[in-house]
């Protein structure tokens, strides 16, 4: 069903923010070109997990990371230039952020930072990413106008286009649908289904059904522990390995 090559290997990952333990030793793998849903109640460490993948956790001053995260077999903590790692991992966070630049420059920002200067290459890339993010038709006539002036849903798709613009191999989405309407959410979900053939996707979501709809496998995190990770058929069945998972998925948790 999915490729067996391991794209991300996480073993014994612990993260502490000062006194507070956010992740308490997590071990699992993500395979090439699958969608892994990550569900769990608030404060369960979902966002922290994503931040360790592209090492934006480095910017959190009191964070202390131990354990190993490998991407393509390479320990991310050993990578000297973290920017290269970040280009490999696309990130979409809950609140859309349009950079205070034109729509075109918003998408061309990352390729330019990576050193692509040729206009025709940039044009092509911008068009491709905006099309992938299902935004092209709405903005193709006004690429020069400000990204910050778009509506919330459009800005979120712009954020996704930007996350795709550095041609990542892994795409992480952190509750991307929290600030946008259901119709746009559905459109983006369609986009993700198409992207699955090109990249590995990690989907953190509070909407259990979204993980059900999109993911191949789903991980259930709770209080910094990985409770269970398994194929969707099992997680969303009547008999997942842990009763806690069943309770959470069916909404009678706690």
């Amino acid at each position: 069903m999915y490729n067996i090559t391991e794209k991300i290997e996480i073993s014994g990952l612990q993260v502490r923010y000062g006194e507070k333990q956010a992740l308490k030793g997590i071990t699992f793998s993500v395979y090439e070109k699958e969608i892994v849903g990550i569900i769990g109640p608030a404060q369960s460490g979902k966002t922290t997990l994503l931040k360790t993948l592209n090492r934006t956790i480095d910017f959190v001053t009191n964070a202390c990371v131990s354990g190993i995260v490998k991407i393509d077999g390479i320990d991310v903590s050993k990578i000297k230039n973290a920017n290269q790692l970040r280009r490999k991992v696309g990130m979409v966070f809950p609140l859309p952020v349009g950079l205070p630049l034109s729509i075109y420059d918003n998408v061309a920002f990352a390729p330019r930072a990576a050193g692509i200067r040729r206009q025709d290459q940039l044009d092509e890339l911008v068009e491709k990413c905006l099309k992938q993010a299902a935004l092209w038709d709405e903005v193709k006539d006004r690429l020069g106008s400000l990204g910050t002036k778009l509506s919330g849903g459009q800005q979120q798709r712009l954020t996704i286009a930007r996350a795709l613009s550095h041609q990542p191999e892994i795409l992480c989405l952190d509750e991307f649908s929290i600030a946008i309407d259901p119709v746009t959410t559905m459109r983006i979900e369609d986009v993700l289904r198409e992207l699955r053939s090109e990249m590995t996707i990690l989907l953190v979501t509070n909407l259990v059904q979204q993980a059900h709809r999109l993911a191949d496998r789903t991980a259930f995190l709770c209080n910094g522990d990985l409770v269970e990770i398994d194929d969707n058929e099992i997680i969303f069945s009547d008999s997942p390995a842990q009763k806690m998972t069943y309770d959470y998925v069916n909404g009678n948790f706690g």
Binding site: N54, N83, F93, V97, P100, F109, T148, T159, R162, S165
Partner: protein, 316 residues
């Protein structure tokens, strides 16, 4: 049955009507609330007008007193007859030299230091001490800066009394405020922008150059504008380090000073002709003050135009 219902409905309607009547009637409490609201508003308005009042009075008084002497000739001719006649060309040009050179030194150092402190420095004890030092340096009296300038630039660095030494002293004096205001301007750029840039693999410097600096220009300029006025107006720091009592200068030649020369300055000139020289016609010091004020306002106006331009390009 039908009749009964009609009566009930009528009753209900009446009840709603009376309720809505009482809902917005004035009570003692609501009247008092409104009265306080108006009182506060009026008081604040009067206090605000009180701030403008002295400014208008000062400017008006200065103009009135200096009216007989103000002309282009006054601006472009040197003081003559032992400062008792003539214009303010030499001090005027001197002040411009001092301000421009000090800003050329203080602006890049101040802005870049602020960028480091706000964007790169980790929040540890060294950073906190630096920040504390910046704040305290801003509070050091200008006469102390003057002594430092005398010791460090004039004597130790052997610059002698010169425009350079005086400008550097002014730069040291204005630096902390430029750093503080630049830091504030940088801090006003939302963190989310930076994180978005880092997440797509942009380095810190790329983020600063393309997102942070362009969007904080107006705030940075505000800080610098304020320092222009301060550098132009201060007398103490330049008195020991480069300002001179009198110097004849090519009239109308804006390159008349060499930065290793001493120069006259408006603030110092104003001080000498109003306290040190006897029998100066009354209009002369007032005219000098108007030129000083005008020069500062002119520089401010230019900077404000810049600011308006950059603010109009602010993009969120």
């Amino acid at each position: 049955m039908e009749a009964n219902r009609q009566i009930l409905e009528a009753e209900l309607e009446r009840e709603i009507f009376t309720h809505s009547q009482t809902l917005f009637t004035q009570t003692a409490k609501s009247r008092q609330e409104q009265w306080i609201e108006n009182l506060v508003k009026t008081t604040l308005l009067i206090l605000t007008l009180l701030i403008i009042f002295p400014l208008i009075l000062i400017v008006g008084f200065l103009f009135y007193k200096s009216l007989p002497i103000l002309s282009f000739e006054f601006l472009f001719s040197n003081p003559i007859r032992g400062m008792r006649a003539g214009g303010v060309w030499a001090p005027f040009l001197g002040t411009i030299y001092l301000v421009v050179v000090s800003l050329l030194v203080a602006t890049p150092i101040g802005v870049l230091a602020a960028v480091y402190l706000n964007e790169y420095a980790r929040n540890n004890w060294a950073t906190r001490i630096t920040n504390l030092a910046v704040v305290n340096l801003a509070g050091v009296p200008s006469i102390v800066h003057a002594l430092f300038g005398l010791g460090a630039f004039v004597l130790f660095a052997r610059m002698g009394r010169s425009i350079l030494a005086a400008s550097l002293t002014l730069a040291i004096m204005t630096l902390p405020v430029i750093i503080a205001s630049t830091k504030e301007a940088l801090g006003a750029v939302p963190m989310a922008f930076r994180e978005a840039c880092w997440n797509v693999g942009a380095s810190r410097w790329q983020t600063i150059r393309q997102i942070v600096l362009p969007n904080s220009t107006s705030g940075i300029l505000t800080g610098i504008i304020l320092q222009v006025s301060r550098a132009a107006g201060e007398t103490a720091p330049i008195m020991f380090t480069g300002a001179i009592f009198f110097k004849a200068l090519d009239e109308g030649n804006i390159f008349a000073y060499n930065i290793f020369d001493q120069c006259m300055a408006l603030s110092m000139h104003l001080f000498t002709i109003s306290t040190q020289v006897p029998d100066v016609p009354e209009a002369l010091p007032y005219g000098t003050a108007v030129v000083l004020l005008g020069a500062v306002l002119l520089i401010n106006a230019v900077a404000i135009l810049f600011r308006v331009y950059f603010r109009s390009r602010k993009k969120w």
